[in-house]
Amino acid sequence: MKKLCMILVFIFFAGYSSAQIGESFQLPSSEVEKYATPLATWSGTYFNSGGYYTASVPKTFGFKLSLIGMMIFIPEDQQTFDIYPYDGYDGDEKSATFFGDEGAAVLGSEGFIIYPPGINMSSVPAGIPQIAFSFMGAEALIRYFPKLDIGDVEVNLIGWGLKYNFSQLIPGLPLDIAAQILFNNFEAVHPDTELNTANMAFNIHASKAFDSFIVYGGLQYESTNMDYTYTYEDLDNDVTERVDISVEGENNMRLTLGVAVKVAVLAFNVDYNIGSQNALVAGINFEF
C-alpha cells in the first residue's frame, strides 16, 4: 500500500495530475481550479502553521531548532464540488476534489466528460523543520531545503519569517504579545507539470508563562496562491497544449490556541488551529 507523506502530497499531485488531468480528463480550467482549490488551502494550512508557541523572544541572542508535525483535517464540503462542465449545464452532480473520492462522468456534446477521482483522505499529516535566531526581542525564522530529486519530480522549499515582541516596549504588561509575518514558497517540478505555492501569513499572538508551562493563542491572516501548469495532449488533433492555472486557497483567517511545556533546553507544544481547514499541530523545540 503506497503511503502519502507530507510534502509528498504535492509530488503525488504533480505526477498524478499530469497523468490523469492532462491526458485523460479534458476539463475546462474552471473545473480544474475547483478540483485543486482544497489542495491550495491545505498548502496554506500546512506552511502557515507552527510559526510560534510563545510570544516571548529573548532580549539577548537565542537559537531554536523546531520539528513541527501536524494533522490537517479536510472538511466534507472540501471533498466534493458542484460541477459545471459547460455553459447551460443544469445537472446537480458533484465530483471529487483532490481529497475526495469518486469522479463524475456526465454527458457532453462529444462524449462523456470525465472528472478525475480524488485520493479519498479526510485527514492529511504533514511536518516541517525550522530554525530561528533571535536578538533584542526580534526573531528570524528559516525553513529551507535545496532542490531534491524524488522520482521524476524535483522539489524545493524556502520559507522565512520575522517576529517582534512589542510587549517589551510596554512595561508592566501581564503577558507577552508579538507580531509575526511568514512567507513560504514551495515548488514541485515534474516533466509535464509544475506546481508552485506561495504562502503568506501575518499574525498577532500572545502567551503567558506559568513557570515552565505556557498558554498561547493568536489570530492570523493568511493567503495562499498555487500556480499549476500541465500539458494537455489533444489526441484527436495531435497537439500538445500547455495550460496554466492559478488557484487561490480558501485559508484566510485562523484562530490558534495552544499550550507548551519547557523541560531544560526542550519545549514541547501542541495547538489547535481553527480555519478553513482545521489543524492539530505539535512541536518539539530545542532552544537556548
Binding site: M1, K2, K3, L4, C5, M6, I7, L8, F12, A19, Q20, S24, L65, L67, I68, G69, D101, E102, G103, A105, L107, G108, S109, E110, G111, F112, I114, Y115, P117, G118, I119, N120, M121, S123, V124, P125, A126, G127, I128, P129, F145, V265, L266, I284, F286, F288
Partner: protein, 186 residues
C-alpha cells in the same frame, strides 16, 4: 556542548525524517475509464448494421493502468450520433455488446427516432441483470486478456432498422461505456 551537539544532530535527523514520513496510507483510487466504440453504417436499404470487435487493451486509459486495476465495474453508457446524412433520417436504433462467445451482455434500443436528435448524446438505461452479467464477465477476463487481441474480448453491434427519410444514407456514431475501476496507487 557535546550533549548539545547530540541533541542538534538528533533533531536534524528527526527533521529530515519528518519531511518524508509520518505518512498515511492511500487507498485505491476510483478511476473512470472510457471505452469508445465507433460505428459507421451507410447504404440504401431499409436496414443497416456494423460490428466492432475489441479488447480492453486497445484503450490507452485501460492499458496505462491495467496492472494496477484491482476491480472494474459498469458505470454508465451512452450513444452519440457524430454525423448523419440525410438529417431527416429516422429508424429504430439498436446497440448490443456481447462477450467473446456472443452472449449478450448489454443491449439498448431507441425506437422510431431520428439519429440527428442524438448529436448531444443519449444515456442508456441498462437493467441490473445486464450490469451484473457485464461486471461478472469483465472481472473474469480483465486479468487474462490476450495482449495481441487475436480473440477479441468483446463484440459490439450497431444496427438501424425501418429506415425512412431518404437514401442513400450515411451515419457515423459511437457508444461510450464508462468503467468504474479501482486502481491501486502502488
Amino acid at each position: 556542548m557535546k550533549k548539545t551537539s547530540k541533541i542538534i544532530f538528533l533533531m536534524a535527523a528527526l527533521a529530515s525524517i519528518s519531511l518524508f514520513n509520518g505518512c498515511e496510507e492511500i487507498g485505491n483510487i476510483e478511476l473512470n475509464v472510457p471505452l469508445v466504440i465507433k460505428f459507421n453504417v451507410s447504404g440504401s436499404e431499409t436496414s443497416a448494421s456494423d460490428k466492432v470487435a475489441f479488447c480492453l487493451n486497445e484503450y490507452p486509459e485501460w492499458q496505462d493502468n491495467k496492472d494496477k486495476i484491482e476491480k472494474a465495474n459498469y458505470f454508465k453508457a451512452a450513444y452519440w450520433t457524430i454525423k448523419v446524412d440525410p438529417v431527416a433520417l429516422k429508424g429504430n436504433i439498436s446497440f448490443v455488446l456481447k462477450d467473446n462467445i456472443n452472449n449478450v451482455l448489454i443491449s439498448g434500443t431507441l425506437n422510431d427516432v431520428s439519429p440527428a436528435d442524438y448529436i448531444n448524446g443519449k444515456e442508456f438505461e441498462v437493467g441490473q441483470d445486464q450490469i451484473d452479467a457485464f461486471n461478472q464477465y469483465l472481472n473474469d477476463i480483465m486479468l487474462n486478456e490476450d495482449p495481441s487481441c487475436q480473440n477479441p474480448s468483446f463484440n459490439a453491434g450497431f444496427s438501424i432498422t425501418d429506415i425512412t427519410g431518404g437514401t442513400p444514407y450515411d451515419i457515423d456514431c459511437k457508444v461510450e461505456l464508462i468503467l468504474k475501476t479501482e486502481v491501486s496507487p502502488d
